[in-house]
Structure formats: C-alpha cells, structure tokens
C-alpha cells in the first residue's frame, strides 16, 4: 500500500496555494489527509501534485465573529472539539465531532477537509447543512461564498470549481434557548453512519419551536436538508409532538437511499426515521430544559 509518485508542495500563503492549484496539473489540496492519504496509498486516487496547506498561518485560525464561528481550512477537528468557547457557540458542531472517527484521527482530520471531502455518510457536512452554514472558497480568480445548501452535489462531489480551495467554513452561532443532538446508527463508534440525523432547534418563551435546522446523513448521495421535519415541528412543543410523524417526515422525500452490505435501502429508511425522531426529541428536550 504505497502511493503512486506525486510532487509535494507546501505553500505559506493562501495566494501561493491558489496559484499552485491554478497552475499545477492534476493538483489536489492536502490538509489532514485522513481520507486522501488512504485513497492514495490504496491507489484508488492518483494526483501529480499535492498542495499541503498546513503551512499557511491564515488557515489555522478558528474565531468567533458577531453571529458566526469561522473555522479555517487547516484547523483540526480536535482543536475545535477542545475549544470550549467554540463548543458553546456552535454546540451542534461540538456534539457531532465525537462521532468523527476516533480522537487520534481528529488530531489530524480537519473540519473543512471533512466538508470538502463530502462523504454523504459523514457528520460534519450534515451539520453544515442543518445549520445553514457557508463555505468560503478562493482561487486565482477571487473569493466567493457558497451556502451549505448549494455546496454538496453528490458523493465526494462539491460545488468547488477547478482551481478553488476551501479557505474556511462558517457556522451560525446558536441562540440562547436552543438545543441540539446528533443521533446515528453505525456498526461501531466512529464509523461512517448507516443513517444519521443532526438537529438544532430554538424555542420561544412558551417552549414552542421557533426555528430548527435538521439534516439527515447516510441516506442519499449528499447530506439531506430535512425541510419537511422543520415545517412539521415549527410552533410545536415537546409534549404535543407527533414523534412518529417526525420520523415519517424525515424520510418522506428520500428516493435514492443507498443499498449496501450494511443495510438495504428499506432498512436505512427505517433507521433514518428512528434516528431523526430520537434526535428531534433529544434536541427539543435540551432546548426546553
């Protein structure tokens, strides 16, 4: 298991990285390498040029802005997980991180890398969709922002164009009366989910859902924004929630559920309904506690 030959580059500025990505043939960005390196070693992926962005200081910052948390492209998952300020500001991110592999992997894996890799069964892309976050990208033609809802196009396929690299992702900061939960079914802790649900809810003074952000993962070729569930629970209180309807709504729109040796499409649908129901109940319980 040795990678095919490639040239390794380690730029020190974002502009240099963008220049390299624009100019070098068959180039790929390397951050934590938790997905890319195994694929290279298994020779499932071949690139002539790898651009390691971990030497770029500007990408190594995670910061709290007025209403969002901004996480630079080389910030590791562990750095976010261990930062209690960030965990308070975007609790759904903090809640999701323990499900991402195991701690030693999160010491290398980056938040942006997981999102850019766009595995449909991964937690962080779903969290970005649930919270309506934003991906900041850059290239030699300039910077642009891509809303989460437009970023994920398919399995390992995003709206990033040739020559673009992810500079940061932004997650909106949670309100005071909010609750969140990540529920998933995986064969073992840390595995990609067979089906999962990430839920963020905010309630009003009466304990009714004022706003929610819900996404499903592992059940399609991208994370799925569960708008029907958000509609269903708007204005609802924990006590009068029709939880079976929540599960049904979470899977109602799914028409291309993966079928593999871990679970058939039908079994995934069943599991997705269960995790969505449980995550909504958990999040709402937390918000109204």
């Amino acid at each position: 298991m040795k990678a095919a030959p490639f040239d390794y580059h380690r730029p020190e500025t974002i502009d240099d990285a963008a220049d390299m990505l624009g100019a070098l043939p068959d180039a790929r960005v390397l951050a934590g390498g938790q997905s890319l390196v195994p694929m290279l070693n298994l020779r499932l992926a071949y690139f002539d040029n790898l651009i390691d962005i971990r030497g770029i200081r500007e990408l190594s910052m995670a910061s709290t802005l007025s209403d969002t948390v901004r996480i630079g492209a080389s910030v590791t998952q562990a750095e976010v997980e261990l930062n209690s300020d960030l965990a308070r500001s975007v609790p759904l991110v903090a809640r999701a991180l323990p499900f991402v592999g195991h701690f030693p992997l999160r010491n290398r894996g980056t938040v942006c890398g997981s999102i850019a890799h766009a595995d449909p069964a991964a937690e962080l892309p779903a969290v970005l969709v649930a919270l309506g976050g934003t991906v900041e990208v850059t290239s030699t033609s300039g910077r642009r922002e891509i809303p989460a809802g437009e970023f994920f196009l398919g399995t390992w396929w995003t709206a990033l164009k040739e020559g673009e690299l992810v500079e940061a992702v932004r997650f909106p900061i949670a309100g005071d009366r909010s609750g969140c939960a990540v529920r998933e079914v995986a064969r073992r802790h840390g595995d990609f989910a067979i089906a999962g649900s990430a839920v963020h809810v905010e309630v009003d003074d009466a304990g009714c859902v004022a706003h929610s952000g819900i996404a499903m993962f592992g059940v399609a070729s991208t994370p799925v924004h569960a708008r029907e569930v958000e509609e269903l629970i708007r204005g609802a209180r924990l006590g009068d929630l029709d939880i079976e309807a929540v599960g049904a709504a979470a899977v109602a729109g799914l028409d291309d559920i993966p079928d593999d040796s871990n679970a058939s499409s039908l079994e995934r649908r069943t599991l997705a309904a269960v995790v969505a129901r449980r995550a909504v109940v958990d999040a709402l319980s937390e918000a109204t506690r």
């Binding site: 298991m1 040795k2 990678a3 095919a4 030959p5 195994p38 298994l42 020779r43 195991h102 079914v185 064969r187 073992r188 802790h189 840390g190 595995d191 990609f192 067979i194 040796s261 871990n262 679970a263 058939s264 079994e267 069943t270 599991l271 269960v274 995790v275």
Partner: protein, 732 residues
C-alpha cells in the same frame, strides 16, 4: 535489500491468456518479475508437517498458472529497489484474463457445473461421515426433535502484523536465511528444506516478536513459498511485507454451515444428536482441511452426556481464499451445539440454564467416552457453568429482564460451554525440547523453539525455569525463535505451548539441578545426595552457612577442576495423553435496541478450567483476546464476497474488528479444579476464548429477541440482520 510485491488477480475465476511483464521490467529500479512459469517448476516437495505427506495433496501452485482461482490469487512477483517502485511496476504487469463463472456459494458449489479444480468432482475437497442407523430409534421415540441450521460467515484472523518475510540466499555456501513472521520457526525450516531441496542445516529461520498469528502463521503460505523460491533468483536479501488489503483478501477464510438435529426425551435430556457440516476450503486450503472438519464432528457432543451421535462433514472448494487455521479451528461445533441447545430450550419451554444442568457432564462423570468415541478427562463442565451462573446472578438477571421488557427494553442472556482438546500428541506436535544454560556469571538462559506471536511464551518460559531451578526470575533470560540456536519444537499451535514448554523445562531442569548438586558437592567436599538446590543457591541442609550461590557453582563448573562438564542441560519432553482437555462456560448479557438492531454487551463472564495457572495475567490475556475475536465474529466481522466472488471488505473501513469501545470488561473466574495429566497439571488456554464467545453472544441476542419469535440462523448479527428478523417475526 530488495522489495517484493505481488500482482494479484482482480477476478475470482478466470483463464490467464497471457502475462506480459515487459513494461514492468522496464521501470527504473525493477530487478525482475517472476511468474508461475518461472518458478513453479522449482518446487521439489511440498507438504505440511502438521498432516504429513500421506494425506491427499490439494493443488497448491506457488503462483497462479493457467487459471486464477480467487480475487487476490498471486499471479506474479515484482522485485524492485523499494516497495514504491515495486507497486508502480506491478500496475504495469499486463495480465490478459478471460473471466469464468466463479464458484462462491458454499451450498451451490456442490451442484455447480463449474469446478474450482479440474478433477475434484462436485468441488468436494474432502468428506467424512459416520453411520447414522443406530440413531433412528432415538429420534423415532423422542418427545422432542429440534432441528436448527446455522451459518457462520467468513471471518478471518487479522493479525495486526500482516504476513511477511525476508529471505537471503547465500550462493557461496548454498545457505538460506529467513526472517519470518511465523508461529513455527523450526517447521518453517523443515518446510523450506523440503520445498527447495536444500539441506535443513543450511537453512536458518529467525522469528522474533511476531505481531499476532492466531493460527494464520502456523504453516507457510503460497506467498512464503514464492519468496523462498525467489530467494535464489536475486543476489540480495529480498523482503515482502503483506499489506492489509492483501491480508484481508488473500490470507484465509473460514466459512461454515451446519444442520443440527437433536432428539430429547420428555425431561429435556438429549438422547441423540447429529450435525451435517459444510466447511469452505476456498481455492487453496492449507493444510489438508479434513483434520479440523472432522474435529467439528467429533467434538460436537461437547460437554453433553448423550451417547448416540453421528456427523457428516464436507470441505468444499470455492473461488475464495483458502482455509487456514484460525484460533479454535473447530469452533463451529460449539456455535452449532450451544445455539441448538438454546433453540431446544425455547422449543420445549425449559430455561436454557436448566436444560444444560440436565445434560452436562460434571467432573464426577469423567472419564467419559463421547458419542463419537473421544474420551474426555479431567474437566469441570457443569462446575464452570454453575460458577458462571452464580457470578452473573442468573435469577436476578431474569427478573431484570422481565422488568425491562415491561418497559419496552430487551435484555438477553446467553450461555456457551465448551470442551477443548488442547496439546495433542499428534506426532509433529507431541514433543518439545529445551536447553537451559547457567552462564559463567550465574545468570540463566533457557533456549526454546518459540513461535510466540504475542502469547507471552517468553514470560511463561522464564517463570517456569525460575521455578524449576528455584532461582529469581530476574536472573533468567530466554532465547526463542531462531533455528540456529534453539532445540527443535513445532511452535505455537493447538494451545500446546504452555504444557509442552513446561514439560521440556521440567525434564531439562531436573538434569541441570543434578549437575548443580554435583558441582556444588565437589566444591564443598560432600556427597551430591546431601546437596539442596534452592533459593538461588546450593547448600548442605545441615550447614547452610556454607551455601554456594549459583554464580559460585557456575564458576566451579566452568573454571574449576571439573570444567569439562559446564553447567547446562538439554532434554526433550514427549507428551503421552492424546490431548489435555480444557473447558469453560461463557455467559454474556446484552441489550438489543429493537428499533435500530444495535446490540450492546452488558456483561461478559468466563468461568474456565485450564488447570493450575502458570501466570494468571497470561491466562486472562489469552482469554480476553479470544473473546474479543469471538465477539467480532458474532456481531461485526464479515469477509463478504458478492455473487461474482469480489471481496467486499478489503480494508478496516469495511472489515469491522471490535475496538476497545466495542467490548465490555471481561470477568474471569478460574476453576483450577481438574489438573490435566501433563506437567504441573497445566492445560492449554490459547484458543478457548474464541471458541466460546460467538455462541454466548448469539444466544444472548436470540434470548433478548425471544418475545418476537425470532430464531437467529446466521452471523454476524448486524443491525440490518436483526431488523430483518424482527420484521419477519416468527418466520425467522
């Protein structure tokens, strides 16, 4: 050092129309590419010591020639200056495959028109059946006849250190050095000697710190054979380290299936039982697989008393990796029997613990000749069951289970008891040698064949030697795993090392103690008979003040007037009992989430009897490792192929080993109640954990789901499998 990499078949079955190595050979840094045509003809004699030369020899070409027979079948060997270059070049070896229909399913293989190997009709590699006529009456008169079918998925040994070796041929003196990852250095040497036609004493095999074997590394595999043959083609040491994908795809696959029939009387006492067993031989089993298959049949009665039994077994060729030993190679007997007992308990409405009480042998029933003619001795089956039941507070659990069910939570408890023949006296495994040398300084070295792959054989040997000579463990060192330095022994296999090494050390230390006494007597001017050897010194009991330390004795032995004798001894131990029976009862409790199909293990209790423990840490370590592998087999691990024989789990992303977060604290109870007939009463304990665990977990899950009328028939018990069973309900 040169580095090797295999070109492997991407197809499960195909004709090889051509192999073109030209482009690969042209890569800078490539030293050569070998194909079957280049080296297969160099094999002088190929058979395995464990089974001898007289069993049928199943096909075993070093490299595939003419046809590939599983996805992963080695077709060519690329040798280059480093492994990167070797892998680059391997991609350029152009093999023209003409796909053929692959034989994958175990049952379908028997009726398939396609043959894995020409001349092996019905894809039957080996078969054996005992008469059944004498059972007809028992089944006709039975109050209950219970029939169960169980399928055990392919799951593999997964040593964390994969297979691999370094070979170095020295043309000047015609000698070969091998650094191997093997459980049996001396057997590896014998094997290489036969294979190459090179005299045994011209081959040196060194095995140090092997990172796991679990049976996979008892015998040389085709990759080892190819490297041994390739050694003479290259003027430098040649290294091959298997990668994980290769280990999963190509190292081995155990996959079994069985149909059990049990006849019980109205009291729930088993009167007769049969098992019809199928075992996957794969394409290239190593060694001849009937040995372990027959053991499944012969040990199937396990700890049960019934006297009427029969079995049939077939080993079936398929286009999958070849069967090799995996920790408790006959484990299927325990899975099939214990799952059937629980099915019987549910069918006739008796508690599964109670059903076992009515059927299991106690120490007072032994010796006992089982229904297939095996004589069981020196065990505590019923006693370990009672011990485990007490530890797990069985009755209390049943109450908790009722209360939980009332709240919609599903708890289950599973029992699995087994008896295990350890330390056989089969010719190749029946003896073991040791050399113990007191060095001139008084420190001690004990030389043993070794083959430890994480079995703590080093600790065990040092401890046994220190005890036998009555010296501090701190002054003893051990040298193992080098055929040039150590006495012959057949390595770690069949849970033999503890007892055999104890025997070898006992025999050797007895001689050495006499020699110590002789030297000390000479130095002290007394008769040897009055010398005591104890506490690290030699002395006359009446006059301990004049005691000689071992260092002083050694000084006399090497530099005194009788220096011809030195201070070392060698001896061999030959075990007489056909085997040493060990036994255990495992009890597992689980909670099943019926909405997700996820299983959480709550408690895991092992009550075992391996005789007196040489070292409890080693015993518990062995049990823990085996239990974890069994849990993996019950819940997670699945080396699966699609219908065309393509492997679906070729990395640890898909081949799911239990990790530390997936296994419970294992609770150990040691009976030490029935010493075996071997040295110290010690019995084997290396494999039992893996034998007992799959059935304990499976029974616990089935027990949890019993309110739904679910009968589980296949492993692993994945969430999807359990959801399917729950959806089907009683249809199971």
């Amino acid at each position: 050092m040169l580095h090797a990499c295999f070109v492997r078949s991407p197809l499960a079955r195909a004709r090889i129309a051509s192999v073109d190595v030209e482009k690969a050979c042209a890569v800078a840094g490539v030293r050569g590419v070998l194909t079957g045509a280049d080296i297969n003809g160099e094999v002088v004699d190929l058979w395995y010591s464990q089974v001898g030369p007289d069993v049928p020899r199943t096909p075993l070409p070093p490299l595939a020639e003419g046809e590939v027979r599983f996805a992963g079948d080695p077709v060519a060997l690329v040798v280059a200056d480093d492994r990167y270059v070797a892998e680059d070049a391997a991609e350029l070896v152009a093999v023209d495959y003409e796909p053929l229909d692959a034989v994958v399913d175990l049952h379908a293989a028997l009726d398939s028109d396609s043959l894995v190997h020409e001349g092996w009709a019905g894809n039957v590699c080996a078969e054996l059946a005992t008469p059944t006529d004498h059972l007809a009456e028992a089944f006709a008169n039975a109050a209950h006849v219970v029939e169960t079918e169980i399928h055990q998925q392919a799951y593999v040994a997964c040593p964390l250190e994969t297979r691999g070796l370094v070979v170095e041929w020295s043309p000047a003196d015609g000698s070969l050095s091998v650094w191997a990852s093997s459980q049996s250095p001396h057997d590896f040497r014998q094997f290489a000697s036969r294979l190459l036609g090179v005299a045994e004493h011209k081959i040196r095999v060194i095995c140090q710190d092997t990172g796991g074997g679990f049976g996979q590394k008892i015998n040389a595999h085709r990759e080892d054979i190819v490297l041994l043959l390739a050694a003479r083609h290259f003027p430098a040491p040649l290294k091959y380290i298997e990668d994980r994908r290769e280990n999963l795809m190509a190292s081995s696959s155990r996959r079994e299936s069985g149909r059990v029939r049990m006849a019980l009387n109205a009291e729930g006492v088993v009167q007769a039982a049969t098992i019809d067993h199928l075992s996957n031989a794969g394409a290239y089993p190593i060694p001849y697989p009937l040995i372990s298959s027959a053991a499944v049949g012969a040990i199937f009665p396990g700890p049960l008393k019934y006297q009427l039994g029969a079995f049939s077994t077939k080993c079936v060729f398929t286009n999958t990796p070849g069967l090799t030993a995996y920790r408790g190679p006959w484990e299927f007997e325990t899975l099939a029997r214990e799952v059937s007992l629980d099915a019987a308990a549910r069918q006739i409405g008796v508690d599964p613990a109670e059903l076992r009480r009515r059927n299991m042998l106690s120490r007072h029933d032994l010796p006992h000749t089982n229904a297939l003619g095996m004589t069981l001795t020196d065990m505590t089956p019923l006693e370990t069951l009672e011990l485990a039941l007490e530890a797990v507070e069985y009755e209390v659990f049943r109450q908790e289970q009722d209360e939980a069910r009332a709240q919609g939570r599903y708890l289950g408890i599973g029992i699995s008891s087994y008896v295990e023949p350890t330390t056989t006296n089969m010719p190749h495994h029946g003896s073991e040698g040791a050399t113990i040398r007191v060095e001139p300084s008084g420190t001690v070295n004990v030389y043993l064949a070794g083959g430890s792959a994480g079995n703590s054989l080093e600790t065990t040997a040092i401890q046994l030697t220190a005890d036998a000579l009555d010296v501090d463990v701190g002054v003893v060192n051990t040298v193992q795993g080098d055929t040039a330095l150590t006495p012959f022994g057949s390595g770690t296999a069949g849970s033999r090392s503890g007892s055999m090494v104890a025997g070898a050390i006992r025999e050797t230390a007895a001689i050495l103690r006499n020699r110590i006494a002789e030297v000390a007597a000479d130095a002290l001017g007394v008769r040897a008979e009055v010398i005591e050897v104890a506490g690290g010194s030699a002395f006359v009991e009446a006059n301990p003040i004049n005691a000689l330390t071992l260092a002083e004795v050694a000084h006399h032995a090497y530099f005194g007037k009788d220096a011809a004798g030195g201070l070392e001894a060698s001896a061999r131990y030959h075990t007489q009992a056909p085997n040493l029976w060990a036994n255990a009862s495992h009890i597992c409790t689980v909670e099943v989430d019926i909405e997700t199909g996820l299983v959480r293990i709550l408690r895991y209790v092992v009550a075992e009897d391996c005789g007196p423990m040489i070292n409890p840490n080693v015993v518990e370590g062995q049990i823990a490792g085996g239990v974890v592998q069994g849990i993996g087999g019950a819940l997670l691990e699945h080396f699966e192929w699609d219908v065309d024989g393509n492997p679906l789990a070729t990395t640890f992303v898909d081949y799911l080993l239990p990790s530390t977060t997936d296994v419970p604290i294992i609770e150990y109870l040691h009976m030490e109640g029935s010493p075996g007939p071997g040295p110290g009463g010690f019995k084997g304990v290396g494999e039992g954990g893996a034998i007992g665990a799959p059935a304990a977990v499976a029974n616990a899950v089935a027990d949890a789901l019993s309110p739904f009328g679910v009968e589980l028939r296949e492993l692993p018990l994945s969430p999807a499998t359990l959801l399917r069973h729950l959806a089907d309900g009683g249809a199971g």
